[in-house]
Amino acid sequence: EGCKPLAALLSGIAQAVYHGNADITEELLRGQLYPEATPEEFRALRAKMGGLLQSIASADMDLNQLEAFLTAQTKKQGGITSDQAAVIAKFWKNHRIKIHESLINQSRWDNVLKNMNWRVDLKSQSRHIDQINTPVAIVEMELGKNGQESEFLCLEFDEAKVSQMLKKLSEIEESMTSL
C-alpha cells in the first residue's frame, strides 16, 4: 500500500464526487491503481477513504482540525496508518479550495449572473427631444441556473440610472464590511 496509489485514489474520488466526473468508475480506479486487490477489498478501501474525505470536506477542516481528526483516525481500530494520514493531509491541503468551491456551486440553485457585457451608445433618436445625442449604457447580463440554458437580459441605463445603481451597490459593499 504505497503512497502514490492512495493519492491518486483520493483524486479519483474527488473527481467523481465533487467535480461531477461520471467516467471515474470503481472498476477503472481499481484496475489502474490497485490491480492486485480483489473487488471487495478495493470497495472497502474506497468506501473508507471516501468517508474520510467526506467528513473533512463537509466540515471544511482547517489544518488544526485536520490534524486532530487524522490523528484520532490513526488511533482507531480499523483506522488508518500514519503514512495514509500524511497522504490524506497533503491531498486536502492541495485540493481544499477547489472542493469547497464545488460544494458551494452544488448549493446554488437559483439564477446566477454568469456573465456581463456592456457598451455605451449615443442615442440619436428618442421620444423625448432632450434625449437626443445623450450617451446611454447598454448592458447585457447572462442569467441562468447552474447547468441550464441562459437568459440574456439587455438593459439600457442613462447616466442617472447608472448613478442610482452605483448608490445601491455602494450600500451593498458597505454592508459587506460586517461579514
Partner: protein, 187 residues
C-alpha cells in the same frame, strides 16, 4: 397566429396596428396588450393574451422589416400576401391604411432595432446572505448577494429579474458600473 387575426374585429385590429406603429415611432412606450385583450374579450370575442401578444409580435416584426427595407405600401401588401395567404381582407386593408399614413416615419437606424429588444432599468433591491450549511456540506459559510432588478420591457411591462452573485462576482459587477459611469461622463 394568422388564423387568430380572423377573430379580431376590424376596429380593434386597427387600434392594435396604430399602437404598434406608434411604439415603433417611439411615441408610446409600448403596446398595452393586456388592456386591449380585456376590451376585446368584453365585446364577446374569445382570445387570450398569449395569442394577442403573438399577433402583436408578428405585426411589429412585419412593420419594422418593411421599414428597414423601405417598402412602399403596395410592396408591403404584396409581401404580406405572399407570406400569409389566409389573412382576412379587412386586416390587409387596415395594414395598408396604417402603413400609408405612418409607415414612412419609422426610423430605420440601428437604434430602432435595439430599442425593440432592450429593456429599461427601473430599480434594484438587494440582500446580503451567508449560506451556512447544506445537505452536502455542513460548513459552507459562503456569503452571497441576491439582487432583484425591476425592469421595464420594450412593451412597457414591468417585471422582476432576480439573481445571485458571489462576493468576487459582486465586486466585478460594481467595478463594471463604475467604469460605465466614467465612460458616460466623458462621451
Amino acid at each position: 397566429a394568422a388564423d387568430k387575426i380572423n377573430l379580431i374585429p376590424q376596429d380593434f385590429f386597427a387600434e392594435l396596428c396604430e399602437q404598434i406603429i406608434q411604439h415603433l415611432n417611439h411615441k408610446i412606450s409600448g403596446v398595452n396588450t393586456a388592456e386591449l385583450c380585456q376590451r376585446i374579450q368584453t365585446s364577446g370575442i374569445e382570445i387570450n393574451v398569449g395569442d394577442l401578444a403573438k399577433i402583436v409580435n408578428v405585426v411589429s416584426f412585419l412593420f419594422s422589416t418593411a421599414a428597414r427595407n423601405n417598402l412602399s405600401t403596395e410592396e408591403l401588401v404584396t409581401t404580406l400576401g405572399n407570406a400569409v395567404s389566409t389573412l382576412p381582407k379587412h386586416a390587409v386593408q387596415v395594414i395598408r391604411h396604417v402603413w400609408n399614413e405612418q409607415g414612412k416615419s419609422i426610423s430605420v437606424s440601428e437604434d430602432a432595432r435595439n430599442t425593440a429588444t432592450v429593456g429599461q432599468f427601473v430599480d434594484i433591491k438587494w440582500k446580503l446572505g451567508v449560506a451556512m450549511s447544506s445537505d452536502t456540506c455542513r460548513s459552507l459559510k459562503y456569503p452571497y448577494v441576491t439582487v432583484t432588478l425591476k425592469v421595464a420591457d420594450p412593451s412597457g411591462q414591468i417585471t422582476d429579474k432576480t439573481f445571485e452573485m458571489t462576493i468576487p462576482q459582486f465586486k466585478n459587477f460594481f467595478r463594471q458600473f463604475k467604469e460605465m459611469a466614467a465612460v458616460l461622463e466623458t462621451v
